[in-house]
């Protein structure tokens, strides 16, 4: 098992290296760079810079170097923890990213838990009572949730929250707690705001999780080991949870890593709509303005999270399923 973990950890290095190259190339693909987009803005306000100053700006941002050199400088600094400088916010990327990344992880983790806590039991119920009225009802509601775009749900919630309760749901904090140090009050204020994005992002995965659980469990319920357990006198509910559910749940554990990027990209649009202090809106802004260090660092960090998430879910799966554990030992 230790060997397996070490092998997987080593395998992450080339994966991340390739991702970093792709990220860098993709960010460079659109024409122009931060200097040209700054110049455009300046000339729109009537200011024109001399060629010398433009050259100076380019040199300052390393933009006059060939691409491979720029890449190596960026990734080298990234590894040592220096993520470069955001032109857009005129701040080191480090200062911008960490807090937002924390909120993103918090929201996506809560959304995932929200989805599972609701969708898995519903899926189990739907499988056990297949074709019942409740089964159809849950399926219908789930499919409506699946078909409705996240941001629309967010807008609808905001609208009704405002018109019915006079609440403003934007952001994660009320104005009075926005820029103050952490306190119990601030934490409670955050929880009061947190549930909206959690519900909005969580509902999108609900239908799929529900249907998958239902399908997996229906497959397992027909297996002979379930009948064996019934025949030896295991009480029905204990039997259901201990045998077929235990096995039907494995695919969910193995897809935690895959869910993360989906949740995070879903979070980007919701983040913009709900004005959340997360990585999503920051990423969108940085891509629009070609703020390359900020965009690159964000995408790299999300990639690292995804790769680590995959490893964690694989380890978790090996922990719960002996067949996989032994195969990899």
């Amino acid at each position: 098992m230790r060997k397996y973990v070490i092998r997987r950890l080593l395998g992450m290095i080339p994966t991340l290296a390739i991702i970093s190259i792709i990220v860098f190339v993709v960010i460079q693909l659109p024409e122009g760079d931060i200097v040209t987009s700054t110049l455009d803005q300046l000339s729109a306000t009537g200011v024109d810079l001399s060629d010398d100053r433009i050259q100076n700006l380019r040199a300052q941002y390393n933009l006059d170097q060939p691409l491979p050199v720029q890449y190596l400088a960026w990734i080298g600094n990234f590894i040592t923890g220096d993520m470069g400088f955001s032109y857009l916010y005129a701040q080191p990327v480090n200062e911008l990213v960490w807090e937002r990344l924390g909120y993103t992880l918090l929201i996506t983790t809560c959304a995932l838990l929200f989805t599972w806590v609701l969708a898995l039991p519903i899926g189990i119920y739907s499988a056990v009572r297949q074709y019942s009225v409740a089964d159809y009802a849950f399926t219908t509601i789930g499919l409506i949730g699946l078909a409705t775009p996240n941001f629309l749900v967010a807008l609808i919630l905001m609208y009704f929250g405002y018109t019915w309760f006079g609440l403003s749901f934007g952001g994660l904090f009320s104005p009075e707690y926005l820029n103050v140090p952490w306190s119990w009050g601030r934490f409670r204020d955050m929880l009061a705001h947190l549930w909206i994005p959690v519900v909005v992002i969580g509902t999108s995965g609900m239908a799929i999780t529900m249907r998958l659980m239902r399908a997996n469990l229906l497959d397992e319920l027909k297996k002979p080991y379930v009948i064996t357990a019934r025949a030896k006198g295991v009480p029905p509910l204990k039997l259901l949870l201990k045998y077929p559910v235990r096995i039907a749940i494995n695919p969910f554990i193995s897809t935690i890593g895959l869910l993360l990027p989906a949740l995070i990209s879903g979070e980007a649009i919701v983040g913009v709509v709900l004005n959340l202090p997360t990585t999503g809106p920051l990423l969108v802004q940085s891509l629009i303005t070609q703020d390359m260090y900020l965009a690159g660092s964000l995408i790299m960090m999300l990639s690292v999270l995804t790769v680590v998430g995959m490893l964690l879910s694989d380890l978790l799966l090996a922990w719960v399923d002996p067949r996989i554990r032994y195969e990899r030992a």
Binding site: T228, A231, K232, G233, P235, Y243, P322, R323, Y326
Partner: protein, 307 residues
Amino acid sequence: MNDSLLSIEDLIVEFKTELGSVKALKEVSFDVPYSSITAVVGESGSGKSVTSNAIMRLLPDSAQTSGEIILRPQGREPIAINSLDERDPQMQELRGGLVSMVFQEPMTALSPVHRIGDQVAEAVLCHRKVSQEAALAEAAAMLEQVGLTEVESKMRMYPFEFSGGMRQRVIIAMALICNPQLLICDEPTTALDVTIQAEILVLIKSLQRKLNNSVLFITHDLGVVAQIADRVVVMYDGQVMETGSVRQVLKSPQHPYTLHLLSSMPGIKIVEELQTSSEGWAEGAPMGSGTVLGDAGGGRQVREFSK
């Protein structure tokens, strides 16, 4: 007064499907005496497995049953299995406690993610209030009885590390650990190769002698019947064709279907005249419709047929 461990009387099982209902069992009646091995033999689709699942009440919800299944456990009141409510505590006691079952597919009949020892011990924990340790110790002893070696290490292994024969031994141990009065074996050797098959048959027979319980052995193999059973029930098309002791039925079959079945066995020589009388049977013929089992004397019953 009937004095058998298990009596099945006029058991009818009907499956509701989208295309109408299918009668899997049409008034099946037979007895399983105490301390004996009764074989139910017949071709696929004859209703053997439906019968055994009906005894354990393991039929799917789409099945509708009527008739009586009466179990008379030694030292307690008889139980009318077919009229028990699913939530009746006796139901849980019945499954695995009084009656237990060995299945056809040892490769899939055990949970792939639980340890062997835990799966066997669970049967004990479901029926008796004992500690986990005591249950595991009993499981180890039982696994030794069914012929596993190095039991201590095997208890911690998983089914996928076992061969088919070893798994079937585990399932037999699991079925017998609560000392049930009736053990149902539903084609327990069909999925195994011939040498393992012989070992498992010897094991089932010797354990039956030792524990002095009854075995209902479902099979399509007359060779197996001859090897293991005391009594035999011949089934065809959801009906009992003939019952009697193994000697009576195999030596002098009365019903043409039994003859037909015997003559289909390679290596069994049947007297010429018997063979000709089996010509009364035609493939797919509804046997003895509207007729009843007649008593042929000596505990033997044969369905009436027209020649």
